[in-house]
């Protein structure tokens, strides 16, 4: 298994556009937007918080996770399926599932590296606090990442071609990012939109990250929705995934 992960990691680094995008874009946005003076002042819209406290860094963590989960992972897996890479694996004793696991591990690793850099450099250059409820934050991160990667596997299962996979990923990603508060903080979204989004896969993840970043406990509803997303997407992807 370790050799498969290692080999996939090498392949990953040879075509690094995905990982670089997932690491550098959120980092650049955090440091760039974080230097805008208005975002460093207490905002009444955020209940007295500053934008750089949890809104901006939380969203950037989400952005790096979903870039890997909803576009990079499905694109690679569908390309592998189309090219017959999975088919060839299925003739060996280990089977193609091992390749899928290796891919998920590598993509999650990139999201973890991106998040660590966001926390570290955000703290260094902008004075953004390290997530205060750190263990809860880490737990939320893993659960939320699992839900997003479950969704990514589901996209890889249903996408008819390698060309359509990133498109389907984006189609899902942008509306979800919107209600998660990527462009307008969730506090400023209409109540109805916010209430509905609590039951969608991404927004609970974003809110729970922000809650734990600020040192609060995550809301049980958000944890439950994330867990349910993991179960539902996992079950569906298992049923629907085609190896060739």
């Amino acid at each position: 298994m370790s050799k498969t992960i290692l080999t996939e990691a090498k392949l990953f680094l040879r075509e690094p556009s995905g990982p670089i995008f997932a690491i550098l874009l959120p980092l650049a946005l955090l440091l760039g937007l974080g230097s805008i003076p208005g975002f460093r002042e207490a905002s009444p819209d955020l209940g007295g918080q500053r934008v750089i406290d949890t809104q901006l860094p939380g969203m950037m963590v989400i952005l790096s996770v979903v870039t890997m989960a909803l576009t990079a992972l499905p694109a690679t897996l569908v390309t592998y399926r189309e090219g017959g890479v999975l088919r060839r694996m299925s003739t060996t004793p280990v089977g193609p599932a091992r390749l899928l696991v290796a891919q998920v591990v590598n993509n999650v690793a990139v999201a973890i590296v991106a998040t660590a850099l966001l926390i570290f450099l955000g703290n260094l250059f902008l004075g953004v606090a390290v997530p205060r409820a750190f263990l809860s934050f880490a737990g939320v991160f893993l659960l939320g990442a699992a839900s997003m990667f479950g969704l990514g596997l589901l996209i890889a299962s249903v996408a008819p071609s390698a060309k359509s996979a990133p498109g389907i990923g984006s189609l899902l990603m942008f509306p979800l990012l919107f209600v998660t508060g990527m462009w307008i903080p969730r506090e400023m979204l209409p109540d109805l939109v916010r209430q509905i989004s609590d039951f969608l896969p991404m927004a609970p993840f974003g809110q729970a990250l922000r809650d734990t970043w600020a040192g609060h406990a995550p809301q049980p509803l958000h944890l439950a929705v994330m867990a349910a997303t993991v179960l539902v997407t996992g079950a569906l992807a298992t049923r629907l995934f085609r190896w060739e």
Binding site: T7, V85, T91, T92, P93
Partner: protein, 341 residues
């Protein structure tokens, strides 16, 4: 190739059978030990009986039966869409037949089967950015008793491409890597599907040479192909498949012998003579005149019979040509259609 490292040799050696003595010369290495395997019924490595497989509305394989003996190169020959690939996919355990039975190596299945069965499939590939050595190293790690991939890489002539990305290999190099990957698990049986399709003639010949070497190591090979020349050159026995059915199973020579009049002699006579000179000969079937030439079809030692008869009639055959029936003719004779793609 280090075949001896692999299989539970103790079990096999414990019950030597008389068959071990019968191993034909020219198949050195591994071969003898393997024939002593009591789990294999007699010498049959693969037994397929009444195999049937339907895809939605299309019957891909319709009652296919054949057996493959240890150490042989067995060809599955037929036109595109005849059901060849589906048949071998069922043998490889990649598809479940609708009915019929497949017994490989005495009835192995699942992981145990895949440890012993190397498969090179049509339309399977590797990631573009994987290097040749990485692919071999990775695939070797999938098996409990892999071959030494360095040796294998040299044997398939890819040592100088060790660090080349898969995406930058030529078609022939990819095929050779593909063969190496099918063999890296040290299999007892290798299924190779449409191995030389899309290769230039030189690459095709190189690949054939490689297959012969692999067989010489005692690996039983199932070769799926629609190239007559390939089947004729490599295969000990062939199953001719058409429209999901087995038309005939025989050696290439045996199949050709089924053609009614397998020999054809053509010449330009030095002077006119009566057809009866030829048609009276028992070897001669048909005599035809074509623009000053005479074309004779028949059987047996046709050439000798004709030249002797012409000599007695004082006719000199000019521009004398001899053609033998090919597998193409055999396929035509057996199915009523050409195999050409």
């Amino acid at each position: 190739m280090p075949n001896d490292a692999g299989h539970p040799a103790g079990v096999e050696l414990a019950t030597p059978s008389p068959d071990t003595k019968a191993a034909p010369a020219g198949y050195p290495g591994g071969f003898r030990r393997r024939t002593a395997d009591p789990s294999v019924d007699g010498m049959n490595v693969i037994e397929v009986s009444n195999l049937r497989k339907r895809y939605r509305d299309r019957l891909a394989v319709d009652d296919v039966s054949f057996t493959v003996k240890e150490g042989e190169i067995f060809g599955v020959l037929g036109p595109n869409g005849a059901g060849k690939t589906t048949t071998v996919e069922c043998v490889a355990g990649l598809r479940t037949p609708d009915s019929g039975t497949v017994k490989v190596l005495g009835g192995l299945s699942g992981t145990r089967l895949k440890e012993q069965l190397g498969v090179q499939l049509q339309s399977s590939a590797l990631p573009a950015k994987i290097k040749v050595w990485e692919a071999l190293d990775l695939y070797a790690s999938f098996y409990r008793t892999p071959a030494d991939w360095g040796t294998l890489m040299r044997r398939v002539g890819l040592a100088d491409r060790r660090n080349t990305f898969y995406g930058n290999l030529s078609g022939g190099q990819r095929q050779r890597l593909s063969i190496a990957l099918a063999l890296v698990g040290n299999p007892r049986v290798a299924i190779l599907d449409e191995l030389t399709t899309g290769l230039d003639p030189q690459a095709r010949r190189d690949t054939w040479g490689l297959i012969e070497q692999v067989r010489a190591d005692g690996v039983t090979i199932v070769l799926v192909t629609h190239f007559m020349e390939e089947a004729e050159r490599l295969c000990d026995r062939l199953a001719l498949i058409d429209a999901g059915k087995v038309i005939a199973v025989d050696s290439p020579a045996g199949l050709v012998a089924r053609v009614d009049q397998p020999v054809r002699v053509g010449f330009r006579p030095s002077r006119p003579f009566h057809d009866a000179v030829l048609t009276d000969l028992p070897e001669v079937g048909e005599v035809r005149h074509e623009a000053g030439r005479i074309e004779v079809t028949g059987t047996g030692d046709l050439l000798l019979a004709i030249t002797t008869a012409l000599s007695s009639a004082q006719v000199v055959p000019g521009d004398l040509r001899l053609e033998r029936a090919t597998l193409d003719d055999a396929f035509l004779a057996l199915t009523g259609k050409k195999i050409t793609v």
